[in-house]
Symmetry: C2
Amino acid sequence: MPPRSLRIEPLPGYAPTIGRLVGMLTYARHTTLAAVEGLSMAELDHLHDDTSNSIGALLAHLAVVERGYQCMTFEDRAPTVVERASWEPALTLGPEGRRVLRGKPLEHYLHELGEVRRLTLEALATRDDAWLEQSLSAAPAMNAHWAWFHVAEDEINHRGQMRWLRARLARRA
Amino acid sequence: MPPRSLRIEPLPGYAPTIGRLVGMLTYARHTTLAAVEGLSMAELDHLHDDTSNSIGALLAHLAVVERGYQCMTFEDRAPTVVERASWEPALTLGPEGRRVLRGKPLEHYLHELGEVRRLTLEALATRDDAWLEQSLSAAPAMNAHWAWFHVAEDEINHRGQMRWLRARLARRA
């Protein structure tokens, strides 16, 4: 991992406001990676109680949420029924997620997250700050800046849960 | 509560980049208030397990973290030893927080949060976007924009935990 930056500012290769947003997305991702570093498959699959999502399922969730907002913002459309179906159950989490989102090593989740993020950063690098402020045709109450803030915000929310769950994993040992 | 905005954009009364940041802080706060709406004192004080922080303690934490960053950014100084002592144990959480941060109704926490936030918004309204990008003299690796992003980020992290804890409160009934 590159060193964590404690600055939000324009970044080379991006429009100024987009660069600040990329700084937030990158910082959030850095903390997620730190929260899951070194977890075994058993730890990623562990269910704290009968309504908990595993840490692995939460990582899978982050990747599909980001794919969804790629459609909404870069392709200016709602996800199709087929796309949504392929993202379930990571999108919804819950019982089906507990059943099927398991048996994968950390590298699997990190690869998924990295691939999705690569496409996000490539697309953001080609946009300007006026684009960032535009309303989404698939969700007119929302603008692209909120959508990408929300991707970071959803990740941070679940990172808080991952930290909580990870602290209880350690006590099982 | 005012209606939740799904736009990040310049806001009246603030410099453009500061306005976008205020939009993020406000959205995060909106979701925190929704996460704790209607909780009783017993629910705010409930400890899920012997290392959990109560939802009330997490709310108290948000207010003192914001006070700390007010010192660092608006007053350009680290908190004093006396200030830090007055913010403990909400700042550190843990055993002492479990012991003393209890017995307060939701209104107490919401009043604290509201008062601190009022001062934050008043101060941000008097700054410009060049200020937002400056390094903090009390923490030169950090700029003011990161500091206020981090206040939102810490709140969102703990909101994720509040949602998780609240879902388990319901099941006790």
